[in-house]
C-alpha cells in the first residue's frame, strides 16, 4: 500500500487536463466571449475543449499502464487505459457533433459541462474503489442531467431531464445503499480487498440484497430493461450532442466500471458455473435477455428516429451485459471493443441527426426522406453507422457482436445461460435488421415528394463524421488493432 501523491497526480493527469480545460473554457468566455455572437463563443469553447481532450488523450497514452495507484483506489490496467482513450475519443466526436448542431444558449457552459462529464467517465474507467466509483459516477450523472435539460426553451428537454434525474437519483440511492452493505459485510472499499474477503465469507442473505441493489442501480444507469423507462424520453428530448454523449461515452465508462466491479471485485459470488450456489450471474443474464427482447421488439414500433435509437441502445445494453458475463472466459477485450465501437456508431448517428436538425428538424423517421439527395455525405455516413449498429460486416458493429457471442458460447456452451442468451441475441439481430433497414430505407430509398433542400454540412462536423465512419471500417476490418492489447 502506497499513498504516493506524486504517483496519484501522474495517474490523474488526464483528469487534471480536462478540469483545467473546462476552467479555461469558462474563463475565456467570461473575459473575452460575452460580447460576441453565440456561434463564435461555441466555436472558441469547442476549440479550447478539444485541446484539453487531446491533451488528456496524450496524457493517458504517455502515462500508460500503472499497477495500483494510491492504495489501489485507481487501477490503470490495459482496460482502464483503453476505456479512457475510448471515452476521450467519443467526447471528441461529441464536440464535432456539437459544432454542427443547434447552438445552445450558453455555449461555453455547455462545453465545460461536457468536459466535467468526461472527467467523470475517465475516473469511472479507472476506479477500483467503491467511493471513487460512486463519486465518479455521480460527477458524470449530474453533468449528464444538466446536459439533457440544457435546451430549457423546449419543454421536452426539461421533461427529459426531470425524468432522467428522478430515475438516476433513485438509482444512485440504490447504488450507495448496495455499496454500504458491501462495505458493512467486508469492511473494505477497494475491489481487490473485497474480493479477498468475499472469497472467505461467500454468499450471505445481506450480500444478496446488496447485489440486487447494485444491479438495479447499474440497470438504471445503463438503461437495461426493466429499468429503461427514462431512456427513450431522454434521447428524444435532450439536445442532440447530449444524447450522443449519453449513448456513447457514458455507456462505455459505465460498462467498464461494471465489469471491474463484477469480475475482479465480486467474481467469487458470481454463482452459476464458477461460484457456488446463487450469485449475480443469473439476474444479470435475466436483465440482459429482457433488454434484448424489449429493446428490439419495442424499436420495431417506433416512428421517431431518436426513440428508435433509444430502444436500439437498450437492446445493445443487453448484448453488452452478455459481454460482461462472457468476460469471464474472453477477458475484457470483446466487451470494450463492443462498447467503444457501439459508441462511435451511435454518436455518429446522432451527429447526422444533429446536422439535419440544424437544417429544419429531425424527429420523425420521415424527416430523413430524401437525405441521399440533400447530402450524399450525411447519407453515406448514416448508412455506415446504421449498418454497424445492425451488425453487418465488415463494419465494427459486426465483429463486436461476433466476439461477444463467441465468448458467450465458449463459457459453457448451451449448458450455461450465456449460450442460450447468445442464441436469443442472434435471433433478435434478424429482428433488429428490419428496423435499421427501415431507417436506411427512409434516408436512401424513398423518393421525396418535393425537391428537397440541400444541407450544408459544417466542415468540422463533416470531418468528425468521416473519421467516425473510417474508424468503424478500420476497426471492423482489423479488430486486432484493439484486441491485441488484451491478449
Amino acid at each position: 500500500m502506497s499513498f504516493d501523491y506524486l504517483l496519484l497526480t501522474r495517474a490523474l493527469l488526464p483528469e487534471i487536463a480536462l478540469v483545467l480545460g473546462a476552467l479555461a473554457v469558462l474563463g475565456y468566455d467570461l473575459i473575452a466571449g460575452r460580447q460576441r455572437p453565440a456561434e463564435e463563443r461555441l466555436k472558441a469553447s469547442l476549440a479550447i475543449g478539444a485541446i484539453a481532450l487531446i491533451a488528456a488523450l496524450v496524457d493517458t497514452v504517455l502515462v500508460g499502464t500503472m499497477d495500483s495507484v494510491y492504495g489501489a483506489s485507481l487501477m490503470l490496467d490495459t482496460l482502464a487505459v483503453a476505456a479512457r482513450c475510448g471515452v476521450l475519443g467519443l467526447a471528441l466526436i461529441t464536440f464535432g457533433i456539437a459544432a454542427g448542431a443547434r447552438v445552445p444558449r450558453h455555449p461555453a457552459e455547455y462545453v465545460a459541462i461536457i468536459l466535467f462529464a468526461t472527467t467523470g467517465f475517465t475516473l469511472m474507467a479507472a476506479a477500483n474503489h467503491l467511493l471513487v466509483a460512486f463519486a465518479a459516477l455521480e460527477l458524470a450523472s449530474l453533468s449528464l442531467y444538466i446536459l439533457t435539460g440544457y435546451d430549457k426553451s423546449r419543454p421536452e428537454s426539461a421533461e427529459a431531464a426531470l425524468k432522467y434525474f428522478l430515475y438516476g437519483g433513485m438509482a444512485s440511492a440504490f447504488l450507495l445503499f448496495g455499496f454500504s452493505l458491501i462495505f458493512g459485510l467486508t469492511g473494505e472499499l477497494e475491489f481487490g480487498a473485497i474480493a479477498i474477503m468475499l472469497a472467505h465469507t461467500g454468499m450471505s442473505p445481506l450480500l444478496a440484497i446488496a447485489l440486487v441493489m447494485v444491479l438495479v442501480a447499474f440497470g438504471f444507469k445503463a438503461a437495461a430493461a426493466p429499468f429503461h423507462l427514462w431512456a427513450p424520453d431522454a434521447y428524444e428530448g435532450a439536445p442532440t450532442p447530449s444524447a450522443a454523449l449519453i449513448a456513447s461515452a457514458s455507456k462505455l465508462a459505465g460498462f467498464t466500471l461494471f465489469l471491474r466491479l463484477l469480475w475482479p471485485g465480486l467474481g467469487s459470488v458470481a454463482g452459476g458455473e464458477t461460484g457456488t450456489g446463487i450469485g449475480w450471474l443469473a439476474p444479470v443474464a435475466l436483465i440482459a435477455g429482457a433488454s434484448m427482447l424489449l429493446g428490439n421488439v419495442a424499436a420495431l414500433a417506433q416512428s421517431n428516429v431518436r426513440r428508435l435509437l433509444a430502444y436500439s441502445a437498450i437492446a445493445h445494453a443487453g448484448a453488452m451485459l452478455l459481454g460482461v458475463i462472457a468476460a469471464e472466459v474472453t477477458g475484457p477485450g470483446p466487451l470494450l471493443y463492443y462498447a467503444a465501437t457501439y459508441g462511435v456508431a451511435a454518436a455518429g448517428a446522432f451527429g447526422v441527426i444533429a446536422v439535419i436538425e440544424a437544417n429544419g428538424g429531425c424527429q420523425k423517421l420521415t424527416d430523413l426522406i430524401g437525405l441521399g439527395r440533400r447530402s450524399p455525405l450525411l447519407a453515406g455516413c448514416l448508412a455506415v453507422f446504421i449498418l454497424s449498429l445492425a451488425g453487418i460486416p465488415p463494419l465494427a458493429g459486426f465483429f463486436g457482436k461476433f466476439a461477444v457471442f463467441a465468448g458467450a458460447f465458449r463459457s459453457g456452451g448451451l449448458a450455461a445461460p450465456a449460450g442460450w442468451l447468445a442464441l436469443l441475441a442472434i435471433a433478435l439481430s434478424a429482428v433488429a435488421f428490419y428496423y435499421y433497414l427501415i431507417v436506411l430505407k427512409q434516408a436512401l430509398v424513398v423518393t421525396p415528394t418535393a425537391e428537397p433542400k440541400r444541407i450544408r454540412v459544417p466542415a468540422v462536423t463533416g470531418l468528425t463524421l468521416l473519421v467516425a465512419t473510417a474508424l468503424l471500417l478500420l476497426l471492423g476490418a482489423f479488430p486486432s488493432l484493439v484486441l491485441r492489447y488484451f491478449a
Binding site: 448451451l414 447468445a422 491478449a487
Partner: protein
C-alpha cells in the same frame, strides 16, 4: 491460380471507382463496371486453364487476421469453387451488359452491383468460416438497395422480404458456427478446425448444428417452404439484379449447404436426408405447378427458378458423389439459363412492351416484332426444360441417376418435375411469342419496338454459348467438380456414415 483473390479485390476497387466516376458520367461508370467484370471473369478463366484437377484444395492466401479468435484470411479453391467463380464472372459480365441502359444514379447502381459480385467471389473462395460469413453478408446488403431503388413491381416490399429472409438465414448460420466454435472448443474458424470441433460434439448437438446451418443456407437456396422471397424478389428486382439473384446468389445458399453444413457435420446429412429430399421434391413440383398458372411473365421465370433449385437440393440430399456432382453442375447450368431467361423477360421484352402480363403480351405478335428475342427465349426455354445438348440435361440427368440408388420414389417425382418444367416453359413460349393475333401481318410497321442493342445481343450470345458449350461437353466442368468432391473438406461426407 494465385490470381484468383484478385477477383475479389478488383470487384471492390471497381465498385469504388464506379461510384466516383458515376458522379461525372454514367458512361464512365458503365465502362468501369464492365471492365472490372471482364477482368474478374478473365482471371477466373485463366485460373481455370491453369487448374489441374489433381491439385485438390489449392490455398491462395493464408495469413493471420484476428489472432485472439484464431481467425485467418484464408482463401482457397478447388474444382467446385472454380466452377462457381467462373459462373460468377460470366453472370457479372452478362448482368452489366443487360443493365447498360440504367440511367438513374448509374454510378451507385454499379457500385452496389460490383460490391455484391465481390462478396460472391469471396464466399466461393473462402476456406475460413468467419471470412465466408463476412463475404456472405456483404453480398446481402447491396441486394436490398439494388431492388428497392431500381426495381419495379412492389419493389420495397420485395426487397425487404428478400433482405429479411436472407438475414434470418444468415443468423441461423452464425448461430450454428458459433455453437461449433464454443461447444466444440475449436481452435479457430477455418473449415477444417471447425469440422474437428464439430466432431467432438455429441450426436444430438451435431444434428442441431446441422439443422441450423443447412436451414440457414437453404433459405437462400430457395428451399420449400422458405422459397417465398424468391419469386417476389425476382419480380421486384431490376433485370441485372434478378439475373444475379437467380444466377449466383441462390448458388451461395446451395454452396453453403454443401461446403459448410455438409462439410462441417458430414454424418448429419443422412439423418436429415428424407426430410431435405422430400422438401426438395415438393419444391420442384409445387413451384413448377405454380409457374404453370402465373399471369405475370416474370413470376413464371421466378417460380421456375425455385423449381430448378429444387434439383440442386435433391442432389445434395442424395449425397452420392454423382448426385452432388450433378447438383454443382446444375448450379452452373441454372445460373446461366435463369440469367438468360430473366434477361429476356426483364430487359428485352418488358422494357420494350412495358407489360409483363401474359394476357397483354398474347395480343402482341412478338415473334414478328422481336425475332431475335423470340429465338433466344426458345433456345433458353429448351435449355431450361433440360433438352439434350444444353447444360441442364447432363446436370439434371446426373442428379436423377445419382438419386436413383438412394430412393426410386424421389427420382420419379423429380422426373415428373422435369415434365412440368417442359409444360410451363412451352406455355409461356406459346403465349408470349407465338400466339395467333389478327394484326400479325403489318404489326412490324404499326407497332415498331426499339431494336435490340449490342450489349443485349452480346450478353445473350455469351450466356447461350455457355449453356451450349457445357451441354455438348459437360466434361469440361465435371473434370473439375468430381475431384473437388474428394477435397479434404468434403471427403468426410462419403466416408462419414453411408446408410
Amino acid at each position: 491460380m494465385n490470381l484468383l483473390p484478385w477477383t475479389i479485390y478488383l470487384s471492390f476497387a471497381g465498385a469504388i471507382l464506379a461510384l466516383a466516376a458515376g458522379t461525372r458520367s454514367a458512361t464512365a461508370a458503365r465502362v468501369i463496371a464492365l471492365g472490372t467484370a471482364l477482368a474478374g471473369w478473365g482471371v477466373t478463366l485463366w485460373a481455370g486453364c491453369q487448374f489441374s484437377p489433381s491439385d485438390g484444395l489449392l490455398t491462395l492466401t493464408n495469413t493471420t487476421w484476428i489472432e485472439s479468435l484464431g481467425i485467418r484470411f484464408h482463401l482457397a479453391a478447388d474444382g467446385i469453387s472454380l466452377t462457381l467463380v467462373v459462373l460468377t464472372g460470366l453472370a457479372a459480365v452478362a448482368g452489366i451488359l443487360f443493365s447498360w441502359n440504367i440511367e438513374e444514379r448509374t454510378g451507385e447502381f454499379f457500385a452496389l452491383y460490383l460490391t455484391l459480385i465481390g462478396g460472391v467471389y469471396g464466399v466461393f473462395l473462402s476456406a475460413d468460416a468467419f471470412l465466408f460469413f463476412v463475404f456472405y453478408e456483404i453480398a446481402i446488403v447491396p441486394k436490398y438497395f439494388l431492388i428497392a431503388k431500381w426495381g419495379s413491381t412492389n419493389r420495397e416490399y420485395g426487397a425487404m422480404k428478400l433482405a429479411l429472409y436472407s438475414f434470418a438465414g444468415s443468423a441461423l448460420v452464425l448461430a450454428g458456427l458459433l455453437w461449433i466454435y464454443g461447444a466444440g472448443n475449436a481452435s479457430g474458424f477455418s473449415l477444417t478446425e471447425l469440422a474437428a470441433g464439430a466432431a467432438t460434439l455429441d450426436p444430438n448437438a451435431q444434428l442441431m448444428v446441422f439443422a441450423l446451418l443447412f436451414t440457414g443456407f437453404a433459405v437462400l437456396a430457395g428451399m420449400f417452404p422458405f422459397h417465398t422471397w424468391a419469386p417476389t424478389g425476382h419480380v421486384a428486382a431490376p433485370t441485372a439484379a434478378s439475373m444475379l439473384l437467380a444466377g449466383v446468389v441462390m448458388k451461395l445458399g446451395a454452396y453453403g449447404c454443401l461446403r459448410v453444413a455438409m462439410g462441417l457435420v458430414p454424418d448429419a446429412i443422412f439423418w436429415f436426408q428424407p426430410a431435405i429430399a422430400w422438401l426438395a421434391v415438393i419444391g420442384i413440383i409445387y413451384a413448377g405447378l405454380v409457374a404453370l398458372v402465373q399471369d405475370d411473365f416474370k413470376f413464371v421465370i421466378g417460380y421456375s427458378s425455385v423449381s430448378h433449385m429444387g434439383f440442386v437440393l435433391l442432389g445434395l440430399a442424395a449425397a452420392t458423389p454423382l448426385a452432388v456432382a450433378g447438383a454443382v453442375l446444375q448450379m452452373f447450368s441454372h445460373g446461366v439459363i435463369a440469367g438468360l431467361l430473366f434477361a429476356v423477360v426483364g430487359r428485352m421484352v418488358y422494357e420494350r412492351t412495358h407489360t409483363r402480363q401474359l394476357a397483354e403480351l398474347r395480343r402482341l405478335p412478338l415473334h414478328r416484332l422481336m425475332p431475335f428475342t423470340a429465338v433466344v427465349f426458345v433456345i433458353a426455354g429448351l435449355a431450361s426444360m433440360g433438352m439434350p445438348g444444353f447444360s441442364g440435361f447432363p446436370a439434371e440427368l446426373s442428379i436423377l441417376i445419382g438419386t436413383w440408388p438412394v430412393s426410386k420414389l424421389w427420382t420419379l417425382a423429380a422426373a415428373l418435375g422435369v415434365l412440368i418444367a417442359a409444360a410451363f416453359t412451352l406455355r409461356v413460349i406459346q403465349v408470349v411469342f407465338f400466339s395467333r393475333t389478327e394484326a400479325t401481318a403489318d404489326a412490324a410497321e404499326t407497332h415498331p419496338l426499339p431494336p435490340l442493342t449490342w450489349p443485349e445481343q452480346t450478353g445473350a450470345a455469351l450466356l447461350l454459348g455457355a449453356t451450349i458449350l457445357i451441354g455438348l461437353n459437360p466434361g469440361l466442368l465435371l473434370d473439375w467438380i468430381i475431384p473437388g468432391l474428394n477435397s479434404p473438406l468434403l471427403q468426410a461426407i462419403w466416408t462419414g456414415g453411408a446408410p
